[in-house]
Amino acid sequence: MHYFDITNSPTAFGKDLGKRLGFRKLLNISDDVELVESLSSQPKKPFLIVSQNPNVVYNLIKSRWAIGLLVNGDEPDQKVLNKIKENGKLLVLNSYYLTIGERDRVSKVQKLKKIFRNAHKGKTKATIISLAPNANYLLSFMQLLEIAKMITTDEHQAKVMLGSLGESINDIEEKE
């Protein structure tokens, strides 16, 4: 099982650092992965959807390059979750939403737990990434697993969550 993480740094982190942290590779936004907000951009590399607009999500999620929908604290609609599940994509949570500040952290954890619970009920796969903007917010695989356990409250589900990003990336690479 290969584990990946997606970061949002101006410069990509070294391969050596990624291996030390327990990941096969640290993917970086704008180098390896795109963030897509609207239908106007059609990237030819793996991308995450960051829009809350259901029409945008429904159209973009069908693309073979789509990894999934990135959420912060906003709860996606059940129809959106079903669409993600139908297309075999992921609901992507990010730990930067929790680590950025101490304020309201308890309620943020509860929000993410609720989002995961709704996704899990509808059998939509979810994953978690660090989305670290710099080295201070990077997390090792062990730490990301503990945060995933905090959200899923089950160790097995947390491991499945971390592994699903790797599966999705491998599927996209195979289809290339």
Partner: protein, 106 residues
């Protein structure tokens, strides 16, 4: 009957050079961890600074069972000495010997 306390060693790395041998910095890190996991859990963990491996890596010891809470708490400590910092846990183990291969300076 003397009970042997079982420990877990945590090899962690900071995002910038940090001398945790300095009492002031170590106290700040402990306070940050205790704030997240709570005073009772912090007391039960018996967290101890063992040694500074190099400028960024260090070794901690904690009670068995508490290492996961310490690993989680290190995710949320983001400031030491009024400067931003991040901590990554590289590995946990029951012995220092098994962490030796990862201790070599990069």
């Amino acid at each position: 009957m003397i009970l042997k306390r079982k420990s877990r060693y945590i090899l962690a790395e900071s995002s910038r050079p940090l001398e945790l041998g300095d009492k002031r910095l170590w106290d700040e890190l402990r306070a940050g961890i205790a704030k997240f996991i709570g005073e009772k859990d912090y007391a039960d963990s018996n967290l101890t600074f063992i040694k500074q491996v190099d400028s960024t890596k260090f070794l901690l010891r904690t009670s068995r069972g508490a290492e996961k809470k310490i690993v989680l708490a290190l995710c949320f400590v983001k400031q030491i000495n009024a400067q931003e910092v991040g901590f990554y846990t590289l590995k946990t183990s029951g012995t220092i010997r098994s962490l030796r291969s990862l201790q070599s300076p990069t």
